[in-house]
Subunit: 237 residues, 2 copies
């Protein structure tokens, strides 16, 4: 893990605390990655026990958010960080809020595994799973970019979100067509549709996480701009 | 507006800055309240011009978020606030993030007004509008609670979210039944369903805002607990 600018600190305890918070964010991220992976496997295998486990584990995600939030607030109050240290803590505070929401969406996705689908409907799940793997990779990549505070990797994740949006639109169209042809399937297929929506939202949140990395490293707020504009802004440095 | 603990500060400039940030949050909140009101009116009157206006105005919401975020960060770096001042700034940082997302949901809701509905489908919109007014009131109440930092009012908003959830479930059932009976209507009715979902999410975010008020006043993190548990915790003081 890159040591960032930690070496410049006079207080080694400050270093340790900051490093510990970063490690906690990585642990929280790792847990959420596993949760998403498990939720998708639960759907693929119709494993309702695993789905229940994912839903129960979301409490651990919530606990991480509260703990890291407290650690950051304590750090600000006690150590009065400035410049890049403060930016790092602000980035972490925003990141854990998005990570917690990713946890919520994952819980919603796991619920789909509690339904039983006929073989025809199983086909609909294949695209959902593929989209899920794609989003899972995006989550993995942005956590990796966070660990190394790597702007280029963050930019790649930011760009990827557009592809997720297109995948989501394709799935939505497919599911709507299916419902029109077999209206009795609507309540069940709607659950698949909600899950696709949740995956799309996770993609959005990974994009947010990428923006916080860029904010920390570059000191620039890059919220609410298109990917093209973002690239332009950063290349202009 | 309550002056809170501002009087204790030695630096009057500190007071002014904090008061200004609070005012900015109220302005941002007022804009979003108007946006939601306009989006619902656009749906009620099939007014696509008004809907377009709401969608364009979301940029102003985004600008507020960025501005207030910068003001808070600058305040932390320059003034090194502690105790309740730091809690206020942390609450504001979280609040503006939720407010910005409420803005996003409102933009999605406005899109429904771009569709044209036959008289049969108009009936479906009535329930959406009613739910919308209810959520609008919740948003109004939580902003009011924020202005006065009123824990009782925040608790009332927190409790209200359950009613919104029930309203959402009722609308979902009604819309699904309609789609089953008239499958050709699915793409159009789905838009109404997404809007109902957006309203439900706005309710969740109003609940978050209520939690930040309680955090500020009571110094207690009350995230991820049921309303009953929350009441219990606070009564135990």
């Amino acid at each position: 893990m890159d040591k960032l600018n930690l070496s410049k600190h006079i207080s080694s305890q400050f270093n340790e605390e900051l490093e510990q918070i970063r490690n906690h964010v990585m642990s929280m991220g790792g847990l959420i990655e596993r949760q998403l992976f498990d939720a998708l496997n639960a759907i693929a295998n119709g494993d309702s026990d695993l789905a229940q486990e994912v839903m129960a584990n979301d409490l651990k995600v919530d606990d991480w958010e509260i703990q890291i939030d407290k650690e950051c607030t304590r750090m600000i109050a006690k150590r009065q960080p400035a410049a890049s240290d403060l930016r790092l803590i602000m980035s972490i505070l925003k990141s854990i809020s998005d990570l917690e929401r990713i946890g919520d969406e994952t819980k919603r996705i796991a619920k789909v595994a509690l339904e039983s689908f006929n073989s025809d409907q199983q086909d609909l799940l294949v695209n959902l799973e593929n989209m899920g793997r794609h989003v899972g990779q995006m989550l993995h990549d942005v956590l990796d970019a966070f660990a190394r505070m790597d702007v280029e990797a963050a930019l790649a994740v930011h760009k990827e979100d557009k592809k997720i949006d297109r995948e989501y639109e394709a799935i939505t169209r497919q599911l709507m067509t299916y419902m029109i042809e077999d209206p009795r399937s609507i309540p069940k297929v709607m659950n698949v549709l909600w899950s696709a929506r949740s995956l799309e939202r996770i993609g959005d949140r990974c994009k947010n996480l990428a923006e916080y990395i860029i904010f920390f490293v570059k000191g620039k707020v890059v919220r609410h701009v298109s990917h093209e504009k973002l690239e332009e802004q950063l290349r202009g440095d």
